[in-house]
């Protein structure tokens, strides 16, 4: 019996107790899981005293411990899923309910390896992808995840259809979705990761995704977050890119009471290109926090980042973008933009675009804006006989359209536009 792990704060105890109880039954990687649990115990949940969390307070959400999410009856889930948008994109999909794979609801693709981790059993790749850092939530996920999606695209393989991984939560527990995507040399693929909640329960999703793009790989990653209005969602996307690879991430956040998206991209090969697009719509008392880090570690790397937010009600949004250019990364080109539209008096935005440049032959720019719908544009539309409400919603929609257009899956584009219009016209936004 290994020694008990001592946490630094009492709110970690239920999670460590769960680890002690379940450790032996969890699949694969016992040493890594234990190291991760110890790391989590030593770090503690982040607090607003951490510079990276100064605008996002997890404490009220962690007051009550979340039980591990229980399995849900398949048929009931199937019925309810049918009524929700963004569940059937007309492409192969892997469905996980409360962190467990549900083969009855899934339709795995042909030609590429895509399945749940328990079935694939490739623990070495998993262990290689995992680098225990100073991220307590990621460590907690590593310690406790039950299952996850494993997608491997072989060298030179061009996947025709997108692969849709759907993580569904029902009930009020905590789940640890885990995704590992390995794109081989010169392969091409589009992946969609969806997170959604059935019902209005307060639950906790703590997700980790690793994306490894080998030399010359071209990968698009779409994250669609439509969690329930009470949910706590924390997600980490770690990307490692080889030479001349191209990764595009589309991060769309619509749901959850508190959502934290962390994206860490390491451009480790010469000529790697990365595009980070993000769109967040918040209303009511929602809080969304996007935290991106782009690490230019090799020469001739390019990154383009554009995050846009529309804030209504008493919602709050945080954007923290960090670009690091290492001393060897000459000829780096990095562009970062964050634009925010405030629709209500009480919405709050905190934005922190950062550049850390250690090389000299680089071109880096960043910008952040916060503003309202352009009054002159509204006036122009009104002078053409378009009503005030309609003019405002048209302009608001236009604000997001470039990001929506960039999403590579048509089914998502259509539904996103429709959902946005509905929200705009319903006065929800």
């Amino acid at each position: 019996m290994p020694a008990t792990i001592v946490p630094i704060h009492e709110n970690q105890e239920p999670y460590l107790a769960m680890f002690a109880k379940r450790a032996e039954k969890l699949p694969g990687l016992p040493e890594l899981r234990r190291a991760a649990a110890e790391r989590f115990a030593a770090l503690g949940f982040p607090t607003t005293k951490d510079e990276d969390w100064r605008y996002t307070n997890l404490a009220p959400f962690l007051k009550r411990p979340y039980e591990p999410a229980a399995p849900a009856p398949v048929e009931a889930v199937r019925e309810r899923l049918a009524a929700v948008p963004f569940t059937d994109l007309g492409c192969p999909r892997l469905v996980f309910v409360n962190g467990r794979y549900v083969p009855e609801l899934s339709a795995p693709p042909d030609g590429i390896t895509a399945g749940n981790v328990r079935a694939v059993q490739d623990w070495t790749t998993f262990a290689e992808a995992e680098q225990l850092g100073d991220n307590a939530l990621a460590a907690l996920n590593t310690a406790l995840f039950e299952d996850g999606a494993f997608i491997r695209i072989a060298n030179g393989c061009v996947s025709e259809q997108p692969v849709h991984v759907l993580y569904v939560s029902s009930g009020s527990g905590v789940s640890y979705p885990r995704t590992l995507i390995v794109a081989g040399r010169d392969s091409q693929a589009v992946l969609v990761e969806g997170y959604l909640g059935l019902g209005d329960d307060a639950y906790f999703t703590n997700a980790v995704t690793d994306l490894i793009a080998a030399d010359g790989a071209v990968v698009s990653h779409v994250k669609l977050q439509t969690e329930s209005p009470q949910a706590l969602h924390c997600g980490l996307l770690r990307v490692r890119q080889g030479a001349s690879s191209n990764v595009r991430s589309h991060n769309i956040a619509l749901g959850a009471a508190l959502a934290r998206n962390e994206i860490k991209v390491a451009l480790e090969g010469e000529g790697a290109e990365c595009t980070l697009n993000g769109l967040y719509l918040t209303t009511g008392r929602q809080h969304v926090d996007n935290h991106t880090t782009l690490d230019h570690a090799r020469p001739h790397t390019t990154s383009t980042e554009l995050y846009k937010g529309i804030l209504d009600g008493k919602s709050e949004a945080v954007f923290h973008g960090r670009i690091i250019v290492r001393p060897v990364a000459q000829k780096t080109n990095a562009i970062q933009r964050n634009k925010n539209l405030l629709l209500s008096r009480d919405a709050v935005i905190n934005t922190k675009p950062q550049l850390e440049i250690y090389a000299d032959d680089v071109r880096c720019t960043h910008g952040a804006t916060v503003g309202q719908v352009d009054q002159e544009a509204v006036f122009y539309l009104r002078s053409r006989g378009i009503g005030l409400e309609e003019a405002r919603s048209l302009l608001t929609y236009a604000f997001t359209s470039d990001l929506i257009e960039a999403v590579p899956v048509e089914a998502i584009r259509e539904r996103l536009s429709a959902a946005l219009f509905e929200r705009l016209q319903g006065g929800l936004l």
Partner: protein
């Protein structure tokens, strides 16, 4: 290419021009800091009771604080008990009545620095309150200013002669509990400048002060307080140079500005403390708290700074925009060469309605210099129609330097418009090539481009400083690029 590399070497290896130590007998207290030292400083300066109590409160608070570590700078730990907290030239007991009575050694020092103290009355129309170490030695133009009711004197004098103003405004912008270095300064500050411009008076000349650190191992703790009463206007210049020294010296100054209704304060700085040698030995630690409060409606505070010196600069001149329609401005050029580190920027806190702020920050890094911009724009819920524009550009000269930006934008009012833009780049080879083919040497081309890069900021400096600023910039940088 090789000739320009040689030029680089020649320039970057240039020794600090203004390094020398003046040997004048000084009257110092033993090193270290405790309540007795503070009582001793206060007694030496014949301060009223409220000052002593304020200093002691600050000291007690300071002992409970820890040194901040968040800045993007690195330096060995400072031993606060080995610093001499007070040193005054011996001449303090019988103050000179005119410039002729000033210690000639001291005057020669100023001449070496290029301060035309003697000619000032005739020439520049600048009243200089020259601070030599910790006690003011000479004050000029005082009578002229006094006619208008303007009080411009050393802080010690102000404490003696205008205690009611000092008591009212001291710590009203930077309370002693504000931060570690401000608390330290509040406890031990030796002297500084005090300026009060009464209602409706427009100060007819640029007020200026030169600070120098002289006695070995004496931390200089300056305190400046400027108050512009309703409708007043004042422009204040501050410039500094310091002699070569091996051990690092701590400089923790506090500057407080108060602008009442319709008042305007313009504060300009040229900072050229000793930056340390090529290997980063020696040099001044410049940990400064500067803050202005636009307390009244339609008031305006404008900060302009050129930071070329100091081993480490840690400085955020800020504006609290309380009054409706008040305006805050920040224009900065920060240069880091060799092993210099600068973490500088501003805070604009919008509280009143229709408040506006502009931030223009230019960072230039060469050698192993690390230059960070750290700024915060905060729009509070009551700040209707607040407007902010920030621009911070960095230029990299050399491949071992760094430029960083850490802006924080916090917006709590939807009618606000906030814009932030930043860019990092180096001088393009095509730009140099263009100049060269027009017969301009690489040196001149670089100097031209750098000066153009900083023009927006230099434009804001008063005439007297703009010239010095350009000279300083070329001395600090010329030849750093090939």
């Amino acid at each position: 290419m090789s000739s320009s590399t040689d030029q680089i070497q020649a320039f970057t290896q240039q020794e600090y021009k203004y390094g020398f130590v003046t040997e004048i007998e000084t009257d110092s207290v033993p090193p270290g800091l405790n309540e007795d030292i503070i009582r001793l400083i206060s007694a030496k300066k014949h301060e009223p009771q409220f000052m002593l109590e304020w200093r002691l409160r600050a000291y007690r608070h300071w002992t409970k604080m820890t040194e901040p570590k968040w800045a993007n700078v690195h330096y060995p730990p400072i031993d606060y008990q080995s610093i001499v907290y007070y040193s005054a030239p011996k001449t303090v007991a019988n103050r000179p009545k005119s410039l002729d009575e000033v210690d000639p050694e001291l005057l020669r020092t100023y001449e070496k620095l290029g301060i035309p103290l003697k000619e000032q009355e005739v020439l520049a129309g600048v009243a200089v309150d020259a601070v030599f170490d910790s006690v003011s030695v000479a004050t000029t133009f005082k009578e002229k200013l006094a006619e208008l009711g303007i009080i411009f004197c050393s802080f010690s004098e102000a404490v003696q002669e205008h205690p009611e103003l000092v008591e009212k405004y001291l710590g009203s912008v930077v309370p002693y509990s504000d931060n570690f270095f401000a608390a330290l300064n509040s406890a031990v500050f030796s002297d500084g400048s005090f300026c009060y411009v009464p209602k409706g008076v427009r100060c007819p000349m640029e007020l200026s002060t030169y600070f120098r650190i002289n006695a070995k191992d004496t931390g200089q703790f300056e305190r400046t307080l400027i108050i512009a009463d309703e409708g007043a206007y004042v422009s204040y210049l501050e410039g500094c140079t310091a002699p070569i020294r091996d051990t690092n010296q701590l400089h923790a100054a506090v500057v407080e500005l108060v602008a009442l209704d319709n008042a305007q304060i313009k504060y300009s700085t040229v900072q050229n403390w000793y930056p340390g040698d090529k290997e980063g030995r020696g040099g001044i630690y410049n940990f400064v708290t500067k803050r202005g409060k636009c307390a009244g409606v339609n008031s305006k505070i404008s900060w302009t700074q050129l930071e070329t010196g100091s081993a480490i600069t840690w400085k955020y001149p800020s504006c609290i925009l309380m009054g409706d329609n008040s305006v805050g401005e920040f224009y900065s050029v920060a240069v880091t060469n060799n092993r210099q580190q600068a973490d500088t920027g501003t805070k604009m806190i919008h509280i009143g309605k229709n408040t506006r702020s502009t931030i223009v920050s230019k960072g230039i890094s060469a050698g192993h210099g690390q230059n960070s911009y750290r700024g915060m724009v905060k729009i509070l819920p009551g700040a209707e129609n607040a407007r902010n524009y920030s621009q911070c550009d960095s230029m990299l000269l050399g491949n071992e330097c760094g430029a960083h930006t850490f802006p924080y934008l916090e917006v709590k009012n939807s009618s606000a418009q906030v814009e932030h833009e930043a860019s990092v780049s180096r001088i393009g080879e095509d730009q140099i090539f263009y100049c060269r083919q027009r017969g301009i040497s690489t040196e001149d081309a670089v100097s031209m481009i750098v000066n153009g890069f900083c023009k927006e900021v230099f434009r804001e400096l008063p005439m007297e400083f703009a010239v010095e600023a350009q000279r300083l910039l070329s001395v600090s940088l010329e030849g750093s690029v090939g």
